[in-house]
């Protein structure tokens, strides 16, 4: 076989291999499913990997402002302000998440029972997608359902979740409305149970 034919065979092999070598691009809906799946499993490093750098940077700035305002570094998982500043944004988010809500029993219960079903997405230009999804969870036997929206942005060829720089949104992965609702309804249910017990 001549050199030209070898080159042709090699080129064909490379072309055939390239699509397999590139990561299959996930749809915005699939990314949202994976993102909350990692939340549910407590796989915070994977949550961070699917979070857009813009949100991570905004989160780090917000935490820095909060620490400067609160002035109480003892309770902070970062120790002193300098420790936070020296961390990359993704590490700062991971450290915060590992030290914060994950230890709370209610938090684990809420995210452990989390179910997410994407309904579709609305594009805003070429690089932003807003995914609408149905989320449900349970707290103390009381279930809550909410249709919500979360924003994703393209980073290269991949969609990444951008919950925004708001501290509460970042801690709860954009789930704060559902978590608040579950908490309120569980609280309300508890109040009514107490009243029934009191009446009897």
């Amino acid at each position: 076989m001549g050199t030209g034919r070898w080159l042709a065979v090699c080129a064909a092999a490379v072309l055939a291999a390239v699509p397999a070598a590139l990561p299959a691009q996930q749809t915005p809906e699939q990314v949202v499913q994976a993102y909350y799946g990692h939340y549910r499993a407590g796989e915070l490093d994977r949550v961070v990997a699917l979070t857009h750098p813009r949100s991570l940077e905004a989160f780090k700035s917000s935490i820095g402002r909060f620490m400067a305002f609160a002035g109480d570094e003892e309770d902070s998982p970062f120790g002193e302000m300098g420790d936070l500043e020296s961390l990359p944004a993704d590490s700062a988010y991971l450290v915060f998440m590992q030290g914060a809500g994950q230890e709370e029993e209610e938090y684990r219960e809420l995210f452990g029972a989390l179910q997410v079903q994407p309904l579709g997405h609305v594009l805003q230009g070429d690089s932003v997608a807003h995914v609408v999804f149905e989320a449900s969870t349970e707290l103390s036997g009381v279930s809550a359902r909410e249709v919500m929206v979360i924003t994703l942005r393209r980073q290269g060829s991949q969609w990444l979740v951008d919950p925004g720089g708001n501290l509460l949104d970042m801690v709860a992965g954009g789930m704060m409305p559902l978590l608040m609702r579950a908490g309120m309804e569980a609280g309300m249910s508890g109040m009514l149970d107490d009243e029934e017990d009191h009446d009897h």
Binding site: L119, G120, H121, V122, L123, Q124, H130, V132, E134, A144, R145, E146, V147, M148, V149, T151, G164, P177, L178, M180, R181, M184, E185, G187, M188, M191
Partner: protein, 188 residues
């Protein structure tokens, strides 16, 4: 031509003429959400209530009446001021849209809230369907409160009622209604 046949033709002609006009008049889910926020900006709470889905208004009335039925609720300060009624019976007799309008007026009709709402910007981005009858409209809302600017993408559910898209209570709002502290609970 017999009367019945002429009437049939007349009605058919009327229906054919009326159909495109009726179809054109129907607002898209996006237009309804835009108009919904315009009523907040203008303080036209009656128009806002008219955009709500009848089932949402009924659900809200059931919840509010449920709270009013709790012991001592109607004697609470602000009850009559808020709803314009003195008893549970009077409240129950109000049409759901009127009750909703009064609730909005009492909560959002003050100068401070009117100013905040007047400055609120809403950009509707599109919608996602859930089945044939429910549309979830995605929009971006920018609101300034106490020198803080809130910029959030949100979603609002709409459902058809008599061929028109109407706004449902969001899960958050319904949850909030379920969790409203009972009157007098602070004293207990």
């Amino acid at each position: 031509m017999p009367m019945t046949r002429r009437m049939r033709r007349g009605l058919l002609l009327l229906a054919v003429c009326a159909l495109p006009a009726g179809a054109a008049a129907q607002e898209t889910p996006e237009q309804v959400v835009q108009r919904y926020y315009e009523t907040f900006r203008s303080g036209d709470f009656a128009a806002n209530a008219a955009i709500m889905h009848p089932s949402a208004l009924e659900e809200l009335r059931t919840t509010l009446v449920g709270f009013a039925e709790l012991p001592g609720a109607t004697e609470e300060e602000g009850f009559t001021e808020m709803f314009g009624v003195r008893t549970v019976e009077e409240m129950r007799a109000l049409p759901p849209a009127v009750l909703f309008e009064r609730m909005l007026r009492s909560q959002l009709g003050g100068d401070e809230m009117r100013e905040i709402l007047a400055g609120t910007e809403v950009s509707v981005l599109g919608h996602v369907m859930e089945g044939d009858t429910t549309a979830h409209v995605v929009y971006r809302m920018r609101m300034s409160v106490a020198q803080q600017t809130m910029d959030q993408v949100q979603v609002m559910p709409l459902k058809r009622a008599d061929g028109q898209w109407r706004v449902l209570l969001t899960g958050s709002f319904a949850g909030m209604m379920n969790a409203v502290p009972r009157p007098g609970s602070e004293d207990e």
